[in-house]
């Protein structure tokens, strides 16, 4: 009997009616780990990626609705959730977050019975502070919805992440349940660098800046790093790439996310399960206000109790897959199977994220791999 975590792969192809998206969801729901979650406790938080307005390759609401209904039909109460954003975009305030969900087709009163809430409450600050083990975070603020629910199912839309490498289960577990204060802690290692020469005064960044660190200047934007809180709104929104993240902070950010993820997992009352959707795998995360073409074909769904195993499997699959012509990986010349497309796009070592995650006992890369037919 192996101690390795199980990772299940539902292949991306659908060649007959018993391989539709519906039957894929049925297969995932039929896994013994899901059955175990459904048999314990009363409330299951269903974590999704609510994407920024403008990002159009998000996971179709159908998958979320289907999972919601299956959970509800067992007698368990599902609560759909995601955190608000640290930068001032369309998911910054509770009001805008709700409007964004509706605009994306998440019909809150209709299919979700109103059970669709911010993890940190309408104010994004509803939570408690929990001690963190590790090198960087002394403590982190976890949203009440995470610590108040019995179980958590994390449905991650897998993409590249500019600072983590892979944006998957660890990313969602580590950042997706934090209050604004919690996110600020994790972001505190990041320093923004302003390349004035690239600025053409389009002023897009200003509306994203919550602190006023960016302000209008005589001919260029003015940046005051002293009041910057590292929210990355300018980084993701600047069309000229004038704001960059100083590289020294990136490995620390990866490690901080792991520490936050570990603390989040530790304070979940009962069980957690991770479902990674390798569907529309874009170079941007759902937090970006735009999405470029996916850079690999849809590769299916990976699921596991272990966030490290499921993320490592996701990463490996993306590397081994051929890239999609016409996408950014063709520009970067990494269309071939086996080429690290994520490293080419982001410049970041996903392996470091995974190694530190193993070091902190968040999970293991080694797994038993099951293919569902």
């Amino acid at each position: 009997m192996s101690n390795l975590p199980s990772v299940y792969w539902i292949k991306g192809r659908s060649l007959s009616s018993d391989q539709s998206g519906l039957s894929h969801m049925e297969r995932i729901f039929g896994l013994e780990e899901m059955a175990k979650l459904m048999s314990q406790g009363k409330i299951t938080a269903l974590k999704i990626n609510l994407s920024e307005l403008g990002y159009d390759h998000y996971l179709p609401p159908f998958f979320v609705i289907n999972m919601f209904q299956r959970i509800r039909d067992t007698g368990m109460i599902p609560m759909v959730t995601d955190s608000g954003s640290l930068f001032k975009g369309s998911r910054f305030s509770g009001y805008d977050w709700t409007k964004t969900a509706l605009a994306q087709g998440f019909s809150i009163g209709d299919v979700f019975e109103n059970r669709f809430l911010l993890a940190g409450g309408y104010t994004n600050e509803e939570g408690n502070t929990f001690e963190c083990e590790g090198k960087h975070l002394g403590a982190v603020e976890l949203g009440s919805l995470l610590t108040g629910s019995d179980n958590v199912v994390v449905m991650s839309h897998v993409t590249a992440h500019p600072l983590l490498g892979l944006g998957g289960a660890i990313y969602n577990l580590g950042l997706g349940f934090l209050t604004q204060s919690g996110k600020q802690r994790v972001h505190s290692c990041l320093e923004l660098e302003y390349d004035e020469d690239r600025c053409d005064n389009c002023r897009t960044c200003i509306s994203y800046c919550p602190t006023g660190a960016l302000s209008e200047g005589p001919s260029k934007i003015s940046f005051d790093p002293r009041i910057c809180n590292g929210c990355l709104g300018c980084f993701i929104s600047c069309p000229r790439g004038a704001m960059k993240v100083k590289p020294e902070g990136i490995p620390i950010f990866q490690e901080s996310v792991v520490e936050a993820a570990y603390t989040a997992r530790k304070n979940i009352k009962r069980g957690v399960f991770f479902i990674n959707f390798l569907v529309s795998v874009t170079p941007q995360t759902d937090e970006y206000p735009f999405s470029d073409l996916p850079f690999v074909p849809d590769l299916g769904i990976l699921a596991s109790e272990d966030p490290v195993a499921v993320d490592w499997a996701s990463y490996q699959m993306i590397i081994r897959s051929p890239g999609l012509p016409g996408s950014v990986v063709e520009d970067l010349n990494v269309l071939g199977k086996g080429q690290d497309k994520i490293k080419a796009i982001t410049g970041v070592d996903t392996a470091h994220l995974m190694e530190y995650a193993e070091e902190r006992n968040l999970g293991s890369r080694e797994c038993e791999f099951f293919i569902s037919t």
Partner: protein, 494 residues
């Protein structure tokens, strides 16, 4: 009998106690002041409608502007619209469109509205709003969701009902602090949008209850309900248990509901009586409510609990007032479906009086006084509890139906400086004009001929011969009085 052993420290490592105000906030609370007017204005528009301009929704929108409520909202203000979303199966809580009516105007003023209500005092399923998971579902049942409201519906006191800020109340009568739901506290403006109805504990539920109970977190609700106050023998902070009145398993058909309803297992029913463990009691009121259905009075509340609860509720309501900058709270109330019991009940009895109308004010005590005065003046609704008690118009309806006058909380509020019972009623009647017909319609009425053409739908009126004899028997004259098939053949009263 010892004190209950609740209030253990939460095992989570807390850096800052939830709800503790910052030093800046403490200072703001100390400096907060409300200038009580000698006479407060209360705007009122009566219910009843015979044309477009008089519809209740139109009256409510008109009153919003007549009272100047648009002026308290600055562009970008977060506006909390506090309502009572109603318990499951309660059919007399506010209709969503009565709330949406105000949401729409708040948006037009540039505000960012959200509609909110809080979880109940209990932690388990003695009712259907005890935590965020159940409150969202129950609110949805009543149509309180973004689709119907046009604004987010927010669980005010957080996922577990503990997201709050503490408000100091040195002026409080009984309570010296209260805890406001944090999503309301962080709003810039509050519209206290109440539904006027009775309540068996507090006599009346209007704007004061909307703040004093409905805007409190669970911490605040326990405080306001006087839970664990004094000794069990005093029976104010605990249910009053009279074991000799319990019929026991052998004679009471509800014994199992009573025993099972106590989540803390404080109640054990024997064959002939009951045993009650005060150490375990968590003041959820489930046992008192259950026993009240039996009529045996084994577990009840002390008669004088109710007036004390009015006073403590007024204290808490004042705490909510203090959370907002002076001039940033508007009070509105729909005095319609005025049932004798509260929207927190899973049923609704016949209203005590026909619909009265809509009220608006900036003084909490004034609007509440006007509400109970006008309800008392109203006729006695046939078939209601008020009629059973033989009440006459003008008599204190809620005192008769619920045991105590609702004016106890009003005087308690006046004493604190929360407002004045002295009000000037400004009655507003919409005037029917060509403009007022269209003011609040979704499309202008009547639609001009040119507008009809915009739809460009084939009009069958002119292309089908409806007069063909194969379609209708005879002519109208055949069917009029005196005709061969006169309609009077079908009239049993003719």
């Amino acid at each position: 009998m010892g004190k209950s052993k609740l209030l253990k420290k939460d095992p989570a490592t807390l850096v800052q106690p939830q709800g503790e105000p910052t030093p800046a906030e403490k200072k703001r609370q100390q400096e907060w002041h409300y200038d009580v007017p000698k006479k407060a204005k209360v705007w009122f528009t009566p219910a009843g409608a015979t044309n477009w301009a008089e519809a209740l929704v139109c009256r409510a929108k008109d009153l919003f502007y007549e009272s100047g409520m648009d002026k308290i909202i600055d562009k970008g203000d977060k506006v909390a619209i506090k309502i009572h979303c109603g318990e499951w199966n309660r059919n007399m809580c506010l209709r969503p469109e009565l709330v949406a009516a105000i949401v729409e105007e708040v948006e037009k003023c540039g505000g960012e509205p959200f509609v909110t209500d809080t979880t109940t005092i209990t932690y388990f399923e003695t009712n259907s709003r005890t935590n965020a998971a159940l409150l969202t579902e129950t609110a949805n049942r009543h149509g309180m969701n973004p689709a119907s409201l046009g604004a987010p519906f927010v669980v005010g006191d957080g996922y577990c009902g503990e997201d709050d800020i503490r408000i100091d109340l040195p002026e409080g009568n009984i309570l010296k602090e209260s805890y406001i739901a944090r999503s309301m506290y962080q709003a810039d403006v509050c519209i206290n949008l109440a539904h006027a109805k009775g309540h068996p504990f507090t006599s009346f539920g209007g704007c004061i209850k909307n703040f004093g109970i409905g805007s409190q977190s669970k911490r605040g609700k326990y405080l306001t309900h006087l839970s664990f106050w004094g000794e069990p023998e005093e029976a104010i902070g605990w249910p009053r248990v009279q074991e000799d009145k319990c019929l026991g398993r052998s004679k009471c058909p509800y014994w199992k509901i009573c025993e099972d309803g106590c989540e803390q297992h404080a109640i054990h029913i024997t064959d002939t009586t009951l045993e009650f463990d005060y150490d375990k009691c968590c003041e959820c009121f489930a046992c008192a409510v259950t026993c009240s259905m039996t009529g045996h009075q084994a577990i009840t509340l002390h008669e004088e609990y109710f007036p004390l609860n009015q006073i403590s509720m007024m204290d808490s309501a004042f705490g909510v007032m203090k959370s907002f900058k002076p001039g940033k709270i508007g009070y509105m109330a729909y005095a319609v479906d005025i049932a004798p019991e509260c929207d927190c009940f899973p049923w609704a009895d016949t209203p005590v009086t026909p619909d009265v109308g809509v009220f608006a004010s900036y003084d909490l005590i004034a609007i509440e006084t006007a509400l109970v005065d006008m309800i008392d003046k109203g006729p006695i609704m046939p078939g209601s509890r008020a009629e059973q008690l033989g009440l006459k118009p003008g008599e204190d309806k809620f005192k008769a139906v619920n045991g105590y006058t609702p004016r106890i909380m009003l005087k308690a509020g006046e004493k604190m400086g929360a407002g004045t019972m002295n009000y000037e009623l400004i009655t507003y009647e919409p005037k029917l004009t060509p403009d007022s017909i269209n003011k609040w319609q979704i499309r202008p009425y009547p639609a001009a001929v040119e507008k009809a053409k915009e739809y460009d739908i084939h009009n069958i009126a002119r292309s089908v011969n409806f007069n063909d004899p194969s379609r209708r028997a005879g002519t109208p004259t055949d069917w009029l009085k005196g005709g061969k098939w006169a309609w009077t053949q079908f009239d049993p009263t003719a």
